[in-house]
């Protein structure tokens, strides 16, 4: 198992390298990049700023030299210095890491705690009213724009009822609305996946064997269905995590949540290229780590994966 975990971790390194290259190409090679093109009504970039940017980014060096510098620094976890705050980007990111972690994990927990049981209940009585209601809920959850859902929650639970703070960062109370907003689409997807997975597993031959052993339906589900459904659900969760990270940007912005996502958007508007690059790399890294962990978890549950 350790060997598998090690191998799986090694496999993600080329991806990180490739993503680093893509990010470099996007922001450094394409002419007239972010430094000059973001004319968002604040007037053109003044000459002094442009000159400083060129210097710091080494834009006058040939491309291969620039990439070599970028890669060596990256290998030493040096993400450069923010244009805006003059802080090392890694420090900037470190401060934003915990809020984003908090938000995404809370959203995931919320999605799992509600989505999985919803899918289970629906699959146990296919065609019933419960099934229909939960699947309509699920397709609605997939279709609703997250920031709009967040606005509605904000209006109802913060402004009208006053149960939760409107926005900002603080105690756990502040986490509830953003996490629910972010969790709604993984919840919907989990409900649909769980339902499909349960229906598939329940009709498997080994479930018939389990019944022929004289097991009660509860035990059939506990001993033979849950585990097999878990693998399918975990895999979906891993795939879904990427879009969760994307939506986190929007939700953080909506609720003024001081995470990586809002840092990314702010840095884009402030033309803070090193910070933008750093944010994207960290988000991708986070996504890869989560997927690696999920793959390892799947291999623990499903012994066939190790040998595949």
């Amino acid at each position: 198992m350790l060997a598998f975990a090690f191998r799986r971790t090694l496999q993600s390194f080329p991806t990180i390298a490739a993503v680093a290259l893509v990010v470099f190409v996007l922001f450094s090679v394409i002419p007239g990049s972010i430094a000059t093109s973001m004319e968002d009504g604040r007037g053109p970039v003044d000459a002094a700023v442009a000159e400083r940017m060129r210097k710091e980014l080494g834009l006058d060096d040939p491309v291969y030299v620039r990439f070599a510098n970028y890669a060596t620094k990256l290998a030493m976890l040096d993400l450069g210095v923010s244009f805006r705050t003059r802080e090392p980007v890694s420090q900037l990111l470190a401060k934003r890491m915990w809020p984003t972690l908090q938000l995404t994990l809370a959203a995931m927990v919320f999605a799992i705690l509600i989505g999985v049981p919803l899918g289970f209940v629906a699959a146990m009585r296919p065609g019933s009213l419960i099934d229909a209601v939960s699947m309509v809920t699920a397709v609605s959850g997939l279709s609703i724009p997250k920031f709009w859902f967040g606005l509605l929650l904000m209006y109802l639970f913060a402004l009208k009822l006053g149960w939760f703070p409107t926005f900002g960062y603080g105690g756990w109370w502040y986490l509830v609305l953003p996490a629910v907003t972010l969790g709604v689409s993984p919840l919907a997807l989990l409900a649909r996946t769980t339902r499909a997975a349960v229906l598939e597993v329940v009709n498997a031959d080994f479930v018939r064997t389990a019944r022929s052993k004289g097991m009660s339906e509860t035990r059939v589900v506990r001993w033979h269905v849950m585990r097999n459904v878990a693998v399918i659900v975990l895999t979906t969760l891993g795939l879904q995590f990427g879009s969760l990270m994307g939506q986190a940007v929007v939700v953080e912005k909506l609720f003024s949540w001081p995470g990586i996502g809002s840092l990314l958007v702010d840095s884009v508007f402030q033309r803070d290229i090193p910070a933008v690059q750093g944010c994207i790399l960290v988000i991708v890294l986070f996504f890869l780590i989560v997927n690696t962990l999920i793959d390892i978890a799947c291999a623990v549950i499903d012994p066939r994966i190790k040998y595949a």
Binding site: H224, N228, V231
Partner: protein, 323 residues
């Protein structure tokens, strides 16, 4: 003494707006320790008959009439609790495909151990230990190691031994074996059959053997029922059915068996085949269901449903032109 009595069993297939009869007029009985075989092509209803006996039919299939009595009690009148106590403990079943019939995510030892936890109130530790004993009984080498293996790590023959171990763990009164050797290599088939026969004989476990292979069934069972398109068309002792098959379909089955010796000596080399296909459930009509494929079919076969005729020496046949 009768252990299992199936009487006039009918199984319905109920769709959204239609109902078809998948199996009907099926009657047979098995005594304690006896062996009985059901033979027929795939889709003839033999497997769902077995599932009906286990009380495991699922929508859209359901028992529509007749009775299944196990040890004097009607299966379809039992509550879920009673049925669960019966299944596994007194009524066990082996399925065709041991790869998919075992849970791929659990070690095989644990899947055997479940039987002791379910039916004999054992704790997991004790149950796992006894699972190793059962594995040894079905002659799995190094059982304490194999118990920790997952199904995909075992060969097809080993997997079917595990299935037998599960089925026989609690020494049931009746073992239903649904095509137990079909998915296996020919070389392994006879080992598995011998193993089943030997273990069941030792426990006086009756066997209901289901197969498309008349030769296999006849060699293992004292008597045989031949099913065609949802009905029993002939039921005889194994010896009689080979000597003088009464139904044209049975005759076809016997003729299609490769046999060394007699026929080769008679100069007949080619194996016989039965041409045509089984009618689908939706096409069952009032006529003899075998008539489109029968070389003896006459006008009466196309209009009238044949009734059962008792045969001298026991058994019966369902044909207008038997004998």
């Amino acid at each position: 003494m009768t252990l299992l009595a199936v009487e006039d069993l009918r199984i319905d297939l109920t769709g959204a707006e239609s109902r078809h009869v998948a199996v009907d007029q099926v009657s047979f009985s098995i005594a304690r320790g006896e062996t009985f075989g059901l033979v027929g092509e795939s889709g003839c209803g033999k497997s769902i008959t077995a599932l009906a006996i286990m009380g495991l039919l699922q929508r859209p299939l359901a028992v529509g009439g007749g009775s299944i009595r196990f040890d004097g009690r009607a299966i379809q009148d039992l509550g879920q609790d009673e049925l669960q106590r019966l299944r596994g403990k007194r009524l066990a079943m082996i399925f065709q495909e041991p790869m998919t019939a075992l849970n791929p995510l659990l070690p095989v030892g644990r899947q055997i151990a479940e039987m002791f936890v379910l039916h004999e109130g054992a704790g997991w530790r004790e149950a796992e230990r006894r699972a190793i004993d059962v594995l040894a009984r079905v002659r799995v080498p190094a059982p304490e190691l194999r118990a920790r293996d997952f199904p995909h790590q075992l060969s097809g023959g080993m997997r079917q031994r595990v299935m037998i171990a599960i089925a026989l763990a609690c020494s049931p009164d009746l073992l239903i074996a649904d095509e137990p050797t079909t998915a296996l290599d020919v070389t392994v088939q006879s080992e598995i059959v011998d193993l089943m026969r030997e273990l069941c004989a030792a426990n006086r476990t009756a066997i209901l053997m289901i197969s498309h292979d008349l030769g296999l069934v006849a060699s293992m069972c004292r008597s045989v029922g031949v099913m065609y398109a949802g009905r029993l068309v002939e039921m005889r002792s194994s010896a009689d059915i080979f000597k003088a098959p009464a139904h044209p379909y049975t005759r076809g089955l016997v003729a299609s068996l490769p046999r060394l010796g007699s026929r080769a000596a008679a100069g007949q080399r080619r194996l016989q085949e039965i041409s045509g296909v089984v009618p689908s459930i939706a096409d069952f009509s009032a006529a003899c269901r075998f008539n489109p494929r029968c070389d003896r079919a006459t006008e009466v076969c196309r209009t009238d449903d044949p009734v059962i005729t008792a045969l001298p020496g026991g058994g019966f046949v369902r044909c207008h032109h038997h004998g």
